[in-house]
């Protein structure tokens, strides 16, 4: 074997420079040589770099991810497969995951974002689920940065271009702006699918001598080294990496979906894995490694878009809309006929073997012969050193400058980039296709009916990165708690979450400290709220020229509603109803938007999250919704009480008359970002107060709905119509270059 490999012609010699270009450290290379007991071939080096990069191996994050709670009686499949799976009763399962496509989207916004959506959709339907909804969480740089506007336009068009054509409603998410994303935007895409609990498909291959089948689009020279690119910081040469970005074809993906679901229904499939990062390499190795089997591939059988592709290029191509499957041998003909019907490529490209070796042939010669376990699930694992940031000082609300008037602050905040309406974005996404969208974008959580009902799913994506930077542990907790609140506010029982952890360079101890702290916080909250982590993705090296993004662990939450017609919305329903705030208000201004937008300060400790209180208040709000005691509910988060209240007013066109309690300074009361709070409206307050007392939940009356104004005693009243105008105006005006 050594001899065969050493005589393959036309391959570059393995030099330290070549090793470094492949993102492998000298130590990792030593390990490869030791494993093989020889020098790897060029193709083998490429395969190792694809499998052992951060993106595919999770080598820096693995030891910490293992601490997350991943189990509950309703969890069918936790992390480690293409997506997580939970049981929602009636023989149905929800399959979901969120994944980043940050670096590609920065380099080529439209295709980067589009293929991010394509990748996450494949993860979901690979498991046998029909996608029923998508969400996304987008972080862009300062609106004034010269690249920001084009990135927003390209990313949004790309997400829409893929999802709209594929035919899945894109129903929710978040969009933020912060100068810390100037050189490195974040595009996190989440897909949710529906499957039957007894028809879930996995990547684990079983059986020896089984045919391995290549399905979908042809392999081209696009996306080579995409995963390696995603595992390194950006320098000034980021633009030159454009050839590593793939090009999406949602039409082929739609055909692939229909063909895959059809052959799954016909019982043809033993194992299936989509070709995502590191394409053919990663999918083949994972199928074999998970099944403790070897895999032999014959690259001469792989359908190619162009001639003369080398083994190296074929193994590292990230061409989109491709799948690898192990089929039942007696169903091969039937499966092939289905794929031909859909006009897709179908080729037997290899087989499973008993050897636990990953053998690749090309042009009649063996070009790689590697131990499959070490390549796959036994990749290097690092315990990187980390330093945790000390606690920030708490900010006394009384020490923060009071504004000229509450009305002025409200006007400024509601029209600010981070709090304004994101309608310009979500109107470019088809959010009504499939006819099951109960609550459209713009609310706390989207609500999607399951088939013809009565059940529905609530879906949300949340994180507050500035909290995470100030205190990673509290910030991690808060991201989970906010997702929990958003689901509870529409009346859904939170069931499980997916996490998309976006951080800087883990080789820097302070960044690693952010990661470790956030993961600990997520774990603590997920445990306390019975809200397990069932899937996720880690994106590290989000840095440009040594400057890291804000730590951004996006949480995608899924909750269940028993009766979709009873889901709760945030809009005021009629005049003369009582407005109540559930949860205590100390007026926490540390890391608030008030402090940042009005005082130009980004300091202080973020609001602490008391998980027992979160749970109690969430249970309380859901019980009020279930028993029909409230008419509207809204989570209180960024911007505090008054911003949340005005969002309820804008959603309905109905105003409010408000009174602030005097013990907290007015600006801290209205704009503080204390956690575990909800705003609700009710026609009858008595039963709520009684329940609250019994449950130990603080409930404070704030006033009543009515009129066309939002008026606070002693402050200048504001017309709801004017607030709405400010709320809606910023983003469209920004996108046409007006400011």
């Amino acid at each position: 074997m050594n001899q065969t490999l050493s005589v393959i012609p036309n391959e570059p010699a393995i030099t330290p420079e070549l090793i470094a270009q492949h993102g492998l450290t000298p130590e990792e290379y030593e390990r490869i040589v030791k494993l093989l007991d020889r020098t790897p071939s060029f193709t083998e080096l490429g395969i190792f770099s694809a499998m052992w990069n951060e993106h595919c191996s999770y080598k820096s994050s693995k030891v910490h991810l293992r601490t997350l709670p991943t189990e509950a009686p309703w969890v069918i499949q936790g992390p480690g497969e293409n997506a997580g799976v939970i049981d929602i009763g009636d023989g149905l399962a929800v399959v979901f995951k969120m994944e980043s496509h940050n670096h590609p989207s920065y380099i080529e916004p439209y295709q980067g974002a589009a293929t991010g959506v394509g990748g996450i959709l494949r993860d979901v339907f690979t498991m046998g689920a029909r996608p029923i909804a998508c969400l996304n969480a987008l972080s862009f740089g300062d609106p004034k940065h010269p690249k920001t506007r084009a990135l927003v336009a390209g990313v949004v068009a790309g997400i829409g271009g893929y999802g709209n054509s594929f035919g899945v409603p894109t129903v929710g998410g978040e969009v933020r702006f912060d100068r810390r994303y100037d050189g490195n935007c974040l595009v996190n895409a989440m897909a949710v699918g529906l499957a039957e609990t007894d028809k879930i498909f996995y990547a684990k291959a079983t059986g020896i001598g089984m045919p391995i089948v290549y399905l979908g689009s042809k392999t081209g020279r696009d996306g080579i080294h995409g995963a390696t690119m995603a595992s390194a910081e950006f320098g000034a040469d980021a633009e030159e990496k454009r050839p590593t970005v793939q090009v999406g074809d949602p039409f082929s993906e739609k055909l692939l979906l229909e063909a895959c679901l059809e052959i799954m229904a016909k019982g043809c499939v033993i194992a299936i894995q989509d070709m995502g990062a590191a394409g053919l390499t990663c999918s083949a190795v994972e199928m074999g490694a998970k099944g403790d089997l070897g895999v032999t591939l014959d690259l001469d059988k792989v359908p190619c878009r162009e001639t003369g592709m080398s083994a190296y290029e074929m193994m590292l191509s990230e061409s989109q809309e491709r799948m690898l499957m192990v089929l039942k041998p007696d169903k091969e003909k039937e499966a092939e006929a289905i794929f031909r019907k859909w006009g897709l490529d179908f080729a037997v490209v290899g087989e499973t073997t008993p050897s636990k070796r990953f053998v690749v042939r090309h042009g009649g010669a063996v070009v790689a012969d590697l131990p499959i376990k070490e390549l796959g699930d036994e990749a290097p694992v690092y315990r990187r050193p980390f330093t945790e940031r000390g606690k920030q000082a708490e900010i006394d609300p009384a020490s923060v400058k009071a504004p000229v008037g509450i009305a002025e602050v409200l006007e400024a905040l509601i029209g600010s980039p981070n709090l304004c309406s994101k309608r310009w974005v979500w109107e470019q996404y088809d959010h009504v296709i499939l006819g099951n969208t109960v609550q459209r974008p713009g609310g706390d959580a989207a609500v999607i009916r399951i088939n013809d009902g009565p059940k529905a799913l609530a879906l949300t994506a949340d994180v507050t990165p500035r909290y995470c930077e100030a205190d990673p542990f509290e910030g991690g907790k808060q991201a989970v708690a906010e997702a929990y609140r958003n689901l509870s506010a529409v009346g859904a029982k939170p069931l499980a979450l997916t996490d998309n952890l976006n951080f800087g360079n883990p080789e820097r101890p302070d960044i690693m400290g952010q990661f470790v702290g956030c993961v600990r916080g997520i774990g603590a909250a997920a445990r306390a709220l019975d809200f397990p982590v069932v899937s996720g993705n880690v994106s590290l090296y989000n840095e440009t020229n040594g400057r890291a993004i804000l730590p951004t662990p996006t949480i995608g939450g899924v909750g269940l509603i028993d009766e979709f017609t009873r889901s709760m919305t945030m809009a005021f329903k009629s005049e003369g109803e009582a407005i109540l705030v559930i949860g205590g208000t100390r007026g926490w201004l540390g890391q608030s938007l008030y402090l940042r937008e009005l005082c130009g300060r980004e300091d202080g400790a973020p609001p602490p999250v008391d998980l027992a209180v979160e749970r109690r208040h969430g249970d309380f709000v859901r019980s009020l919704i279930r028993d029909g005691l409230i008419t509207a509910a809204h989570d209180v988060s960024d911007g505090g009480l008054l911003v949340a209240l005005v969002e309820m007013a804008i959603a309905s066109g109905i105003g409010a008359v408000l009174e602030a309690p005097s013990e907290v300074p007015a600006h801290a009361f209205w704009f503080g970002e204390d956690q575990a709070r909800y705003l609700v409206t009710a026609r009858n307050v008595e039963p709520i107060m009684e329940r609250a007392k019994a449950a130990g939940v603080p409930v404070t009356p704030l006033g009543a709905t009515g009129g066309a104004l939002v008026s606070i005693s002693g402050e200048r009243p504001l017309r709801v119509a004017d607030l709405k105008q400010r709320f809606e105006a910023w983003l469209p005006a920004y996108m046409v270059g007006s400011h």
């Binding site: 054509s165 035919g167 109107e427 470019q428 996404y429 006819g435 109960v438």
Partner: protein, 233 residues
């Protein structure tokens, strides 16, 4: 009412349409594959649903218009059979020569998904008999190429022959550029052919047919068609 829904690769609103037809008529429509050459015997209504047939590559609807099944659809229409073509279906019908004009990129050059208001111009057609003339309905749109354009002569004929059935309007029925999201000429959202048996429209009435989901403004179209066939039978 026996309906047949034509499915091209890349069509994606066929399930929405099938549900609306099922709810209206109580029977499942037949799903007809693009490569078929005949419609099911006894078909009353052919529906070309929304989506991105063939990825909308080349030009929206251009490839689908040349699919094998379209000869059967053209033959069906030529004999007076009713054809309902929605969104991508409208684009396909224009490309297939069943309807005049063309659907260009939206004036703002962006895909737009939102509820819009439509003024129903006539109630004396099989497609609109479930509505009153002048009634305003609210239904969603979801398209990037819905900007209806035709030459002056064609527009004049469409108008003089009363072939515009739906027009984008304000909530109180005024034709106003501020309520025309895609820039379509004369606010045209839906037209019929000369014979009046082929309707093409951009909005999606099939997405507003269930009271439990919030709105039922799209139901009139399906209820009207059902009535039409009941009366005919």
């Amino acid at each position: 009412m026996k309906s047949a829904v034509v499915v091209f690769p890349g069509i994606n609103r066929e399930r929405d349409m099938a549900r609306a037809l099922r709810l209206a008529s109580g029977r499942e429509p037949a799903m007809v594959w693009h490569a078929d050459t005949a419609l099911p015997a006894g078909t009353d209504l052919v529906v070309i649903p929304g989506g991105f047939s063939y990825g909308d590559y080349l030009r929206c609807g251009a490839i689908a218009a040349r699919a094998p099944i379209m000869d059967a659809v053209r033959g069906f229409a030529a004999k007076g059979g009713l054809v309902l073509a929605i969104c991508n279906g409208f684009q396909i019908a224009c490309e297939a020569g069943l309807l005049p004009g063309v659907l260009m990129r939206n004036a703002q050059l962006r895909f737009i998904c939102r509820d819009v208001y439509l003024r129903v111009e006539r109630s004396d057609t099989p497609f609109t008999r479930g509505y009153n003339a002048g009634q305003v309905i609210r239904v969603p749109v979801a398209h990037g190429e819905g900007n209806y354009i035709a030459d002056g002569e064609t527009i004049a004929r469409l108008e003089s022959e009363g072939r515009v059935l739906f027009r984008y309007s304000s909530p109180d029925g005024m034709i106003d550029p501020n309520w025309n999201h895609n820039g379509a000429m004369n606010g045209i959202a839906g037209i019929i052919n000369e014979r009046g048996n082929v309707l093409g429209m951009m909005p999606h009435p099939e997405n507003h047919v269930e009271a439990s989901m919030g709105r039922t403004d799209g139901r009139g179209l399906f209820a009207g068609l059902l009535d039409h066939f009941k009366v005919a039978a």
